[in-house]
Symmetry: C2
Subunit: 454 residues, 2 copies
């Protein structure tokens, strides 16, 4: 009888607890959907700071903006964490293609971290290949001194566009190394883009130690189509001119951190963050202004609701995700040196789109603890807890301190239309979609505060 009563009591506790969780989920959603400042915060970041590459004055201005936004959100404590960042400089750049009788200038972006042509024109015939494998079959004399056009198309058949990105991104990251090994002079790539437009997409590349540093430029899909057609017909000349280069040494910058102190276990920390730096195109709205303002919104909403978390909640605007991840490393190094106790780190860096799930990169037992609450998320259109995803900024703390990592999974269809382009601007972010992402983050954090994560 006693055990039966205990069972009933336990069932009652569970259902009371679930009802409370459900109520709190609704309160969080209402608070954010009705009173959020995240959309207005994003407008200010995009329109008064704009793009903000690590080490630039704009990035410094973004740090000041973030510090103030954290204070305005009501964080108990706001501070700047020093980070030394690389400084890549774009300068002037142009790509001219001679597809017919005359050279014409086309929209172009040099790839991030790449070394340009010292501002002098590099003119050569274009050799088009569809893949690394095809390139390797060409006789060396056919590629020596040429500009190689790696015409690998972003595959639209992947329903999850991040899979298409993973599939294609080696052509951005590694083409100059592949090309240089056989004597090519420069590289043009088709952008990592789902867009049916002509925006070139920048993004990081790297040079292997042993090879010559070739210039690498991205063109939009329409220009790539035109170049492809011309290459099929006959010989094409290209003239690349760019001043881009990596500056010597590192420059001082910061992660911006805002905190709500935990009531019961303040030494246990939950991190939620996005990255404050962006590429030097557009306004870094989806990538990753969205993640920044959503993380700040978690602080604002909890303070406005009077929710007192058991654990400490930190919103972190990481610096330098795009070309170095120095912010993520600094955060991890600091956690190690201070012997901090981190129980969960969450990142929002997949755009301010309508949320669909939460990626979980943690042991199976912990995944299952979170999955148990999946039904609570369903009314908020969040249903996918199967992907193993965290985020770049939180990867050092995840890898070095084994902190469980989670990543917000928004709808992925539009992301690679805008990613790293002049079109990643505030106007491409929908206010309701952005806010719902913040709702999901706050709901997850609430759950872990209430029920722990062992």
């Amino acid at each position: 009888m006693k055990s039966k009563l205990l069972t009933i009591a336990a069932i009652c506790c569970v259902s009371v607890s679930q009802a409370q969780d459900s109520l709190m989920f609704r309160k969080i959603s209402d608070e954010v959907m009705l009173h959020s400042t995240c959309y207005e915060n994003l407008r200010v970041l995009c329109k008064t700071v704009g793009h903000r590459l690590s080490g630039t004055p704009a990035a410094a201005k973004a740090v000041k903006w973030g510090e103030q936004a954290m204070k305005d959100a009501g964080a108990d404590k706001v501070w700047l964490q020093p980070v030394n960042v690389p400084r890549w400089h774009r300068g002037k750049e142009s790509l001219e293609l001679k597809l017919g009788k005359e050279y014409k200038s086309v929209p172009v972006l040099s790839l991030g971290n790449s070394q340009g042509t010292d501002g002098k024109p590099l003119e050569a015939a274009v050799v088009m290949v569809y893949s690394f494998d095809e390139y390797k079959t060409l006789p060396e004399k056919e590629v020596k001194g040429k500009i190689v056009f790696f015409n690998y198309r972003f595959r639209q058949d992947f329903v999850n566009s991040f899979e298409g990105y993973s599939d294609a991104v080696m052509y951005r990251w590694n083409s100059p190394n592949v090309a240089a090994r056989r004597g090519a002079a420069g590289v043009i790539i088709r952008s990592m883009s789902t867009g049916m437009d002509d925006y070139p997409h920048t993004g990081s590349m790297h040079y292997d130690d042993s090879v010559k540093k070739l210039p690498e430029m991205a063109i939009g899909n329409l220009t790539a189509d035109a170049l492809e057609a011309a290459c099929k017909k006959g010989s094409v000349l290209a003239r690349m001119t760019s001043e881009c280069h990596m500056k010597e040494g590192l420059a001082p910058s910061f992660n911006v951190i805002g905190e709500i102190k935990g009531t019961e276990n303040p030494e246990r920390i939950i991190t939620v963050g996005g990255h404050l730096d962006s590429w030097d195109a557009g306004e870094g709205a989806h990538d990753d202004g969205a993640g920044c303002v959503q993380s700040i919104e978690v602080i604002r909403a909890f303070k406005a609701m009077g929710f007192k978390p058991r654990y400490t909640i930190r919103a972190v605007l990481f610096m330098n995700e795009e070309n170095g991840n120095k912010g993520g490393m600094a955060y991890s190094d600091s956690a190690i040196s201070k012997k901090e106790n981190h129980i969960l780190a969450i990142e929002s860096d997949a755009g301010g789109f309508s949320p669909r799930g939460i990626g979980l990169d943690m042991p199976e037992a912990q995944k299952n603890q979170i999955r148990k609450y999946a039904p609570l998320f369903l009314p908020y259109n969040v249903y996918d807890f199967e992907k193993e995803e965290g985020g770049v900024d939180i990867s050092p703390i995840h890898n070095k301190l084994k902190v469980p990592a989670a990543g917000l999974i928004p709808d992925s269809q539009r992301y690679f239309d805008y990613h790293h382009t002049d079109n990643d601007v505030f106007e491409m972010v929908n206010h309701r979609e952005l806010k719902l992402g913040a709702v999901t983050l706050a709901q997850l954090i609430y759950l872990v505060c209430e029920h722990g994560l062992d």
Copy 2:
């Protein structure tokens, strides 16, 4: 032993069948994502026809476009089904508000089907109320001869924005009747809008038989905010001028129908459709050009894949969904008179956004037949089979012939930013999201062709 073998055989059949279904789902997705013409079809509809209110020359042009698009998609048979439609005419319209010292013109749209001011200015003081209930508490002398501003705000706290629409839409549909009963002279409403902008949203209203036909105009959220602030401060004058009116009698128009003949049971029909007419604002891109081109895409994709459906598949572009539903009724009447055997009708009329589910309006047993296949849809981000939704165009055939109805459920966050506004244009539709909706429709139809729906 025999029964055990039969069980094993049955399990093998199920899993072979599931594997075939899964393979076919992938083929459909690849075909649409890589070769669809639906985005280009939408561009042509939006940019060469534009908006297309029932009974206008533009609607007639849209019928010709639809007929040709069905032929281009490879339909076995294409025909036009006569529909007589009402003709509402907007004409010139303006709303001037005297919020300060002078009258200023504001962005405005008269509500569809409403009777204007015969082109003469109607000037009166504005009485603002937040609800019908509040209006009813006002003394009659305070509202007599006045212009009533129904300032009901679209609730942003509903996660599913269609619930917000359902909650608010009575203020569009019925305000003139409520206002007229107590002697008001005209009505202004805050648009049924999630937008943080100043686009007015039109849409249908109706007049009760017994009341005076008051003019009704919608203003965007920003103008509504300004008007609200002014009304709180003191008295405000408004001047409404509009020529809009319903023309006498009905005009001839058409539903556009394209068909793939079934192989085994051609007499059994599956309908998939959207509506071809739109309001006379924007380009009717999401509402409902998207549903039209997705329905045509089902035909194109099946023909291109060489899929030979057991049942007949009909893509239908319905006329006059927006202000009369005469197309849906004509389709149903024809089905009744021809004693057609319809096994399923599916509608896409909730925008060309990333799909999330399929609404099912049919007996529970049939719902469960479809839900059984939910795991097949999950890789395509379609997971919600719980909503009871069909569509307006297919409601007559559903109601009169008890045909099971289904409705595509896309993400709802952006729909009511664009719905019935000048901003519902091609540029607001994302190509991948639009195509994925067509994938979902084709996958559902494939399943029902393969496995039936009893």
